[in-house]
């Protein structure tokens, strides 16, 4: 006989048309919120697959998670803003580029879908990006932590600048970013936002896990400012996604988002507090390990035969 259903711990999700265990969703939201507060990533790249694993349809999982990320980002931004770790000027410029990049990415994915190449492109871009960012970040943090390579805290000037940094220096319209303590052309954050916006819209995620390493390694921002700044700009990205998904696809499950955000806002605060206690390289190495773990999981999914050889259209 089937087990009698328990009604005490479960909530029915009206849009997802399924029920979930409240404490399980609270726990997942709290865990991912903790990471969001700690590393300044929205956590969508972790939370969406987790929601799918507990039986939420993928389209609804992605849309509802974007709604939840707003709360986590607002909570995290406030926590970081109190310690002066949000560069609003930089955030707005990256956001402008991100909106433009997002629009280009949507068009690009439309073309790829027409050619039947969208799925493979998304998966490969995802794995390559995760592997590149994860390995570089891990190597860089490990060498700094173990003392194999002396790396002074960046103060705005490099002794032997790379090609990218030489290009960066030659760009016009330089302004000083007080919070980040760097002088940069306004084109640099705009271009970075554009690039990450394209990738994020292709991969269907907020882009925090690409944006954070990019701000650290390409714009040379201090890690503690990167975290708060990324959370700040993700508020606007996720607000746009939530409203668009609710209006066009009707896939935002408010009840699911509500449970997730209850867990995540608390987790984000705890994460932000711990973030302030950890050293920059410790933060970076932890984030790189999470990124690499997600990359390995995706790679295994690509290389091993799935248990079920069909899936619902629009699902994972």
């Amino acid at each position: 006989m089937p087990p009698a259903p328990s009604h005490i711990l479960c909530l029915y999700l009206p849009v997802a048309s399924n029920s979930v265990n409240i404490f399980l969703v609270l726990g997942l939201g709290g865990g991912v919120g903790f990471l969001a507060g700690m590393f300044g990533v929205g956590g969508g790249f972790l939370l969406t697959p987790l929601m799918i694993m507990i039986g939420i349809p993928p389209t609804i999982a992605a849309a509802s998670v974007s709604n939840q990320i707003i709360a986590a980002c607002v909570s995290g931004t406030i926590a970081h803003a109190r310690s002066g770790a949000v560069d609003y000027k930089m955030g707005f410029l990256i956001l402008m580029g991100g909106i433009l990049g997002g629009s280009i990415g949507v068009k690009l994915i439309h073309i790829l879908r027409g050619q039947g190449q969208a799925d493979i492109t998304i998966m490969l871009v995802y794995v390559i990006m995760l592997a590149g960012v994860g390995f570089y970040m891990f190597y860089d943090s490990l060498t700094a932590l173990t003392g194999w390579r002396y790396q002074p805290e960046f103060q705005g000037e490099l002794e032997c600048p790379s090609f990218f940094n030489r290009v960066l220096r030659r760009l016009p319209y330089k302004i000083y970013f007080h919070r980040s303590k760097i002088t940069l052309s306004i084109y640099a954050p705009l271009f970075l936002g554009l690039l990450v916006g394209i990738l994020a819209s292709i991969m269907g995620i907020g882009g925090g896990f690409i944006m954070v390493p990019s701000m650290v390694y390409l714009l040379r921002m201090p890690m503690h400012v990167v975290v708060g700044t990324n959370l700040f700009q993700e508020i606007f990205i996720c607000t746009t996604i939530t409203i668009m998904q609710a209006t066009l696809n009707h896939t935002v499950d408010f009840i699911l988002a509500l449970i997730l955000l209850l867990g995540s806002v608390i987790g984000a605060q705890a994460g932000a507090h711990l973030s302030n206690r950890l050293k920059t390289d410790q933060l970076k190495i932890l984030l790189s390990l999470i990124i690499l773990a997600v990359m390995v999981e995706m790679l295994l999914r690509l290389l091993t035969k799935p248990d079920i050889l069909v899936m619902y259209k629009g699902g994972l």
């Binding site: 089937p2 493979i120 409203i243 668009m244 009707h250 009840i255």
Partner: protein, 261 residues
């Protein structure tokens, strides 16, 4: 003379056999059964519902309970190898007349209840369901993916076959009491589900009765679903508003100033 001695008994035997076969061949012979509950409202704490079927039938019948959902078009993506080593989505697959839900309980193994053609006639078992479903696949190999769809549905608990899951107890007057329970899963969409009770003897259906379970949304769930579907922009803005408020409130509650170490 010897032949004439057998005419009357033979005629009587044929008449009895004809009448009994005529009764037995009529599967529409109905029997009363109870279905508990038969009206279910989806409230905010709904997590599926356990349905119990009880009946008193003539002794010796092999019983089958079937619960079926609406026949729908099922759009899927099939997975296959790309470049010889990457498992990706490789094409679309559409099944027509696929039941949204199919739950079957039987008092013994289906193969021991009736021959395959009778099981097909009453759509009992996955093999029978596969014959009702149509697939618009470009080649026959895609039709073999039916079993994969069954796995997908079983994962969601929307498909289930429980053989020897009906409890049968003989009672007085050559009758038996039967009882079977199944879970109407939370993923089952609001609909009027058909529950059939069938009794078989010697591979033929002797009794068949049908009732329905009405699954519908309660007031709260109807309100939220309606808002999400019919007032998407307002719903989206409210969702954002609540998220921002939740974030702000938590920010204020955890209002202690932090310092970078």
């Amino acid at each position: 003379m010897l032949a004439h001695r057998w005419i009357i008994p033979l005629s009587v035997f044929c008449l009895i056999e004809f009448v009994s076969q005529g009764w037995a061949a009529d599967p529409s012979t109905e029997i009363e059964f109870t279905l508990t509950p038969n009206r279910i409202a989806i409230d905010p704490f709904y997590n599926g519902s356990e349905i119990t079927v009880e009946a008193i039938t003539p002794v010796g019948l092999d019983m089958v309970i079937v619960c079926k959902g609406r026949e729908e078009t099922l759009e899927l993506k099939k997975k296959g190898k790309v470049w010889g080593f990457l498992w990706m989505n490789v094409g679309d697959l559409v099944f027509e007349r696929f039941p949204s839900l199919y739950i079957l309980l039987s008092s013994k193994k289906l193969s021991g209840i009736a021959p395959p053609e009778i099981l097909d006639k009453y759509c009992l078992g996955y093999s029978a369901v596969s014959k009702y479903v149509t697939c618009n696949a470009p080649d026959d190999s895609d039709r073999s993916l039916f079993n994969e769809v069954i796995k997908l549905k079983e994962r969601d608990r929307l498909f289930f076959i429980g053989e020897e899951k009906i409890n049968v107890e003989p009672i007085q007057d050559n009758r038996q009491q039967i009882k079977g329970s199944f879970l109407l899963p939370p993923k089952a969409s609001p609909f009027e589900y058909e529950v059939s009770l069938l009794g078989f003897r010697e591979g033929q259906a002797r009794i068949q009765s049908t009732k329905s379970i009405v699954l519908k949304r309660g007031a709260v769930i109807t309100f939220i679903t309606s808002a999400a579907k019919n007032h998407g922009l307002l719903y989206g803005c409210l969702a954002v508003f609540f998220a921002v408020c939740a974030g702000l409130c938590t920010g204020l509650i955890f209002g202690k100033k932090t310092h970078k170490s």
